[in-house]
Structure formats: C-alpha cells, structure tokens
C-alpha cells in the first residue's frame, strides 16, 4: 500500500481537483477523496501537481543506447529491408541509461521499437521504465506492433544498388511481402503445410489484422501511401511521426487514424521533414486527428517529452489536451488505454509528482511511481 495525499490531481480522464491516491498491489485503489488506512506509507504532495506517468509512444530506448558507439546501437537490422522476425525484446538493454533518465523525468512507460531503415523492421514492445536487468520484468505488452517504414530512410539505406531505391520501391517491397504472407497464411488455414518461413510466419498477425503495423512516415505523400497500403490489405495500423500530417489532416481525422506525431522539437533534419514543428502538430489537433506526441527518443531525448507537450500548448493547444497527448492518448496509441495513461481506479499506479507545472520545461519530476513503487525521488528519500 502507498498513499499520496494533499495533491492537485490531474487525472487526465477527468477535470483536475484536489485529493489523493491510494495504491495497492501496483494499481490505483482509490482516487480523489481517499481514506488512508493506518500505517500506510504516505507521500505528502504538499499541493504539488500529480499526473499519470508520462508515456513515450515511439522510442528506441535500450536499442540505441546512450553514450555508446556502434557497440550499443541495435536499432536497425540493416541486413535486409524485410525483417519482421527480429524482435525489440532481443535487442533492448534494460541497463541503458535512458531508462534512468526516463524515471527522473516522469516517463513511466515507452514503446520500444526497431528503427526505420527497413520497410518492415521487426516486432515492438511496451516497457515500464523500471530499474532491472531483466527486460522481461519491464514488459507490459509484447508484441505491441510491427514496425514499418516509408519515405527516405529505407531507400537511403538500400538504394541505389538494392531495392528499395525509390518511394515506389518502398511500396512495392511492402506489397510483395504482404502478398506472400497472405498466401502463406491462407495455405496454413487451408490445412496445407507450406515450408516453414520465419519471415512470413512473423507477418501472419499483421496480415490477419491482429497486430498493428506501425508505419513510419513524414511527408504527406508518404502518409497517403501508408493509408493506401493499409486499406488495400485491411491492416490494423498506426502512423508514426506524421510530420506533414497537417496537409492531410481532414483525411486522418475522418478515418480516425492513430497518429504518433513527432519529434517536433527537432530541426528540419531531412528533406522529408520540411516544415517540422509544433504549429503543424497543433493544426492536426484542431482538425480532430487522433493524436499523441512522441520525441522519437533518442532523436530528441525522451526526457524532454513534457517540454514538448509544453511547446504544443504554446502552439495553441489547451494544456489539458497537451498533457493528454503524452499520457492517455499515448496509452491508447500503443493499445494500453485500459491500463495506463490516467489516474483512474483500477489502472496501473504509474504516478508523477511535479515540482511545478509539468508542461513548464523548468519543472522537475520530484517523485516517479511505477506500478505502485517509488522509482525516482529527487533529492533522495528525504524528498518523498
């Protein structure tokens, strides 16, 4: 049991109010007006703001490690543009310092994803930022999606000597393998036993619509191509980055496409990122696009995700919605809206006590609680 009292609660799913949280076995037992049983360890929030843990919906923590060269870089299996059979779980290092920085910044969960060098890059997972040496102890959901990519990255990595070398090639390579996976799945369903093929086997949940394909796309035309492909194959899918989504915002809103937008803090690093910035993200929000914010850690450090939400606010999005874009909306994006992202009874006790307004870059996460346990306390135990 753990209690947080005297808090200014921002539950995200409902309006802010004063109150506390009662936590048992890693879950929120009571929220708001709570009754604290005797001898319950209690943190006095002293009127500080308390929010759900921040969620980074798209990142490469553990795969592209902090402060290490190629030895710690396991994000892109560049041997072939189609690698659905590789899994983030086999590359993510729980000891990557990024997770510590996450805890210190109030980021309690993240979706770990292979990079975007490949058309189909591999299986993703969602991890809590817990301190452990066993990745399995961090995992909330696996697989949480299958990484895919369009646009510049695959064609830069493989072209011009090898396909894909163009955007047409990107789509063609994707179609080719989805076609094959469908044929393979059909054969299996028909009782034929095709020769075992690990690549096709890994794609079955994708072509059957069980596992979302999470498609990296920046430019508006790449977004259109992603939608075209997803529709053709009736995929479950989400879009990742969506830098120029404002140009096709109505379509995205109409089709209720899940979009993880970002990293909006970064400069126009590539041609396909022209116009990158929070103004575009804000336009998407205003158009009603289903939206969460990502820093694409390490492209922008995940610990700056609350600051990014602040910049979204500065671009004209109401603060509550900006906060939602890094909590509940992010949880929904990764398929865990029922477990995380808000301070509701029954949800995981991922909680942050802030030194100030969480959207002000000058604020600190004073206390970070993951699954009911104190994972970070600024200024040592005395701070709790």
């Amino acid at each position: 049991m753990l209690a947080v009292i005297n808090a200014r609660l921002h539950p995200v799913s409902s309006s802010p109010g004063r109150g506390g949280l009662l936590i048992r076995e890693g879950k929120i037992l009571e929220a708001g007006d709570i009754r604290v049983p005797e001898d319950t360890p209690t943190i006095d929030a002293r009127e500080r703001i308390v929010t759900p843990g921040i969620i980074e919906a798209h990142c490469h923590a553990g795969l592209s490690e902090e402060g290490i060269g190629w030895e710690g870089n396991d994000g892109n299996e560049r041997s072939d543009p189609i690698t659905p059979h590789v899994r983030a779980i086999d590359g993510a290092n729980p000891e990557d310092k990024a997770f510590r920085f996450f805890r210190e910044a109030g980021i309690t969960a993240s979706q770990l994803t292979p990079g975007s060098a490949n058309i189909i890059g591999g299986e993703q997972l969602v991890a809590k930022s817990r301190e452990t040496v066993f990745i399995d102890e961090m995992i909330v959901l696996r697989p949480s999606g299958m990484k895919a990519a369009l646009g510049e990255n695959p064609k830069r990595v493989y072209g011009p000597k090898k396909s894909p070398a163009t955007r047409m090639g990107n789509a063609a390579v994707m179609r080719k393998w989805l076609d094959r996976a469908l044929a393979y799945a059909d054969k299996k369903d028909a009782g034929d036993s095709p020769d075992f093929d690990m690549i096709l086997e890994s794609l079955i949940p994708v072509v059957r619509g069980d596992l979302p394909l999470r498609i990296h796309c920046h430019r508006a035309d790449d977004i259109s191509t992603a939608l075209r492909l997803a529709e053709e194959f009736s995929l479950r899918f989400s879009l990742e980055h969506v830098t120029q989504g404002h140009l096709v915002a109505d379509t995205l809103a109409e089709r209720d496409v899940f979009c993880a937008v970002g990293p909006s803090m970064v400069h126009e690093a590539k041609v396909e990122m022209r116009g990158n910035g929070f103004e575009n993200a804000a336009k998407m929000v205003r158009a009603g696009v289903r939206f969460c914010l990502t820093n694409d850690h390490p492209v922008v450090h995940g610990r700056n995700l609350p600051a990014a939400a602040g910049l979204l606010q500065a671009a004209g999005v109401p603060a509550a919605q900006a906060l939602k874009s890094i909590t509940l909306a992010a949880a929904e994006h990764i398929g865990l809206g029922d477990r995380m992202g808000s301070l509701d009874v029954g949800k995981d006790a991922d909680v942050v006590i802030w030194s100030g307004d969480p959207l002000d870059a000058r604020s600190f996460a004073d206390v970070t609680i993951i699954d009911g346990e104190i994972a970070h306390c600024r200024g040592g135990d005395s701070g709790c």
């Binding site: 510049e152 064609k155 830069r156 072209g159 011009p160 000597k161 090898k162 396909s163 894909p164 070398a165 163009t166 955007r167 047409m168 090639g169 990107n170 789509a171 063609a172 179609r175 080719k176 076609d179 094959r180 469908l182 044929a183 430019r219 508006a220 035309d221 259109s224 191509t225 939608l227 075209r228 120029q244 140009l247 096709v248 379509t251 590539k270 041609v271 396909e272």
Partner: protein
Amino acid sequence: MHAYIGAKIYPVDGPPIDDGVILVEDGKIAGIGGDLPIPDGVEVVDLSGKVIIPGLVDAHSHAGMWGDGEGEASQDGNERPGPITADVDAIDSVNPHHTSFASCREGGVTTVQIHPGSGNAIGGLCFAAKTAGEVVDDMVLKAPTGLKGALGENPKRGAGKDSPKTRMGTAALIRDYFARAREYGRKRDEGKSPDPDRGLENVLRVLEGEIPFRVHAHRSDDIVTAVRLCEELGIAYNIEHCTDGYLIAGFLGERGIAAHVGPGLSSRGKVETANRHEGNAAILAAAGVKVCLVTDHPFLDARYLMAYGGVAQKYGLSFEDTLRALTICPAESIGVDDRVGSLSQGKDADFLVLAGEPFSFKSPVLATFIEGVEVYTRPTL
C-alpha cells in the same frame, strides 16, 4: 454555377466559338456555345478579348517524383536495382506538394500521365492524375494507365547486377519476363496458386489487354524493336519520345501508332538523341501517327509546354494539330478522353484562359481551371 463569357473558345472537338459562353457547375461543363442563355443567379465572369482552350494533357510526365531543385532525397523516379521493376507503381512515388505541380498549373497542364523513369527495361505502372490536390489518390483520373517499358541507352546503363549490357539483352529480358507472366497466368487459370508476384500480374494486365505497354525509344532501331516486340506479344502499345520517328514515319503511320513526342526544347545530350529534329511532330502527324506533345517533366519544365507547341507549329504542325497534340490526342492515348482533352458538355471543367491566340509569348496562360476551380492565376512580377 459560373458562366465564363466573352472569350474566343477553342473547344477542340468542334469549331472555334467567337464570343462564347462556358457554363460550369460542380466542376463539370454544364453548357458551351456561342449563344447560350445564362440562367439566373449565375456568377458571370467576363473574359472579353481572352482566349479559352482546354487544359493541356501531358501524356508523359514525372511530376511529383523528381527534379525541380529537390535534391537527392526526392529522387523517386527510377527504382534503380532493376532491370525489371514491373511491380512498382508510380502513384507511390508522387508528392502532390512537389513544386512540379505548381509548374504544371502555371504552364496550363491540368492532366498528366505520370510514368516511372526509363532506367529499367520494365519500369512499373503509369497513372493519370489532375495537377492540383493534397492527396495523390484524390487527384487520380485513372490508374493504372499503362506499364512503362524502355529500350536504348538507359536500361543498359542500369546499376543492377542483372542489368542488360546491350540492346539485344534488353529485348531478351522483356521477352523472357512476358513469357514468365504468361506462364504465371496459365497456372493461375488452372487453379494452381503460384506464389503471388505483382510484377508478373502487372505484365498479365498488358497481355490481357487491360493496359498498354508504353515503350521509351529514341533511336529508330529502338522504335522498330519496340514495334517488333509488341506485335510479337500481341499487346497494345505506344512509343514514348519517338525522337527518330520522322525517319521511319511511314512505318509508324501505317500502324496508326501513338507517339508521345518530347521532351521539347531540349538539346541532344545523348547519342540516341543525336538525330533530334524539331520537325519530328509535323512529319509524324502527316504520316498518320497520333502525335502527342509531351514534356517528360522535369526535362522540359511544364511551364513551357505551350512554347513547345509553338515550336512544333513553327516546324510544320498545323495549328489544329498542335492544339490537338496537347489536348485530345494525349487524352485518348491515356484513355481519359471521356473526361478531359476537349471542352464539351459533361466533361470536366478543365480550361485555360490565355491573353490571346495560343502559341505566342504574347498570350501567356492567365488562369488555369481544374474542375471549375481556378488553381493558377498569373502574378505580376
């Protein structure tokens, strides 16, 4: 509803109309004529002294896929590894926000057939689109409209390890791939499900007559090889560029082939274009070839397609044929003449307002309309 009155109209599928009227409703031409009653409540636009022609149709363009100062990151025209990339589709490479579409609108080009590049012996699917929009899928007029093929220098310059080294090799590759497609189709028809292969399926669409093979060929021997191959395979086709066509005009004319002649205003940068001649279009047209003037954008900037028409006319193409070569002929060649290429009731309201008679520097495009919407207005510098 809008009524555009007062201009001289070249409908292309009928005689010119002095002081004509075009009625536009819901993006379509609701009426056109010299003495047309204007219904009440219509917004009237007076274009006295101006000239209206249909929006230009460019049968060979790479708009949205490369060039125009975009640099290497936006080179999406040739799926290099080749030599056969029949499985790719040009639509997946087209960026509607690319400046090339603005160039098209400025030049009066309202419909383009976008091809993959000519780096590969079989390059991929072509499609037809309007030149204004945010999402390429919404701009599509027809897809696919053909399968791109290439002969001559480009495919043998290919970077792929299997790329052909000679013209003989290119022809052999195409023959072989079409044979495999036939085999694939036979298996499929027999109910044996072959491993899915989009490339072979796209070629089957050509073999089954759904779409034509559109073959890039400059030199006369390449053109003849294209004819030989396609006749042998029994498929519909046309010739792209057709630079040496005038040297074998009779051979092409007796077959009634469509030739997409261009890019205009270019120099002779390659050996296979050494015989380039400005009179090519006129000679081909006289021989009965269906001539379309094309930009091959970006190689001729679409802004200057009208100037190219002027040069073709200068070298003997009649005024009417020049106008047709930029409108209805390419519309027919692409298979979209039910909607564009001329101005008649029921067709899309794609038209240009010119300052005067076409094909002079004195009559630039003042405004471009696509489906009734003014998508370009000439600025003052």
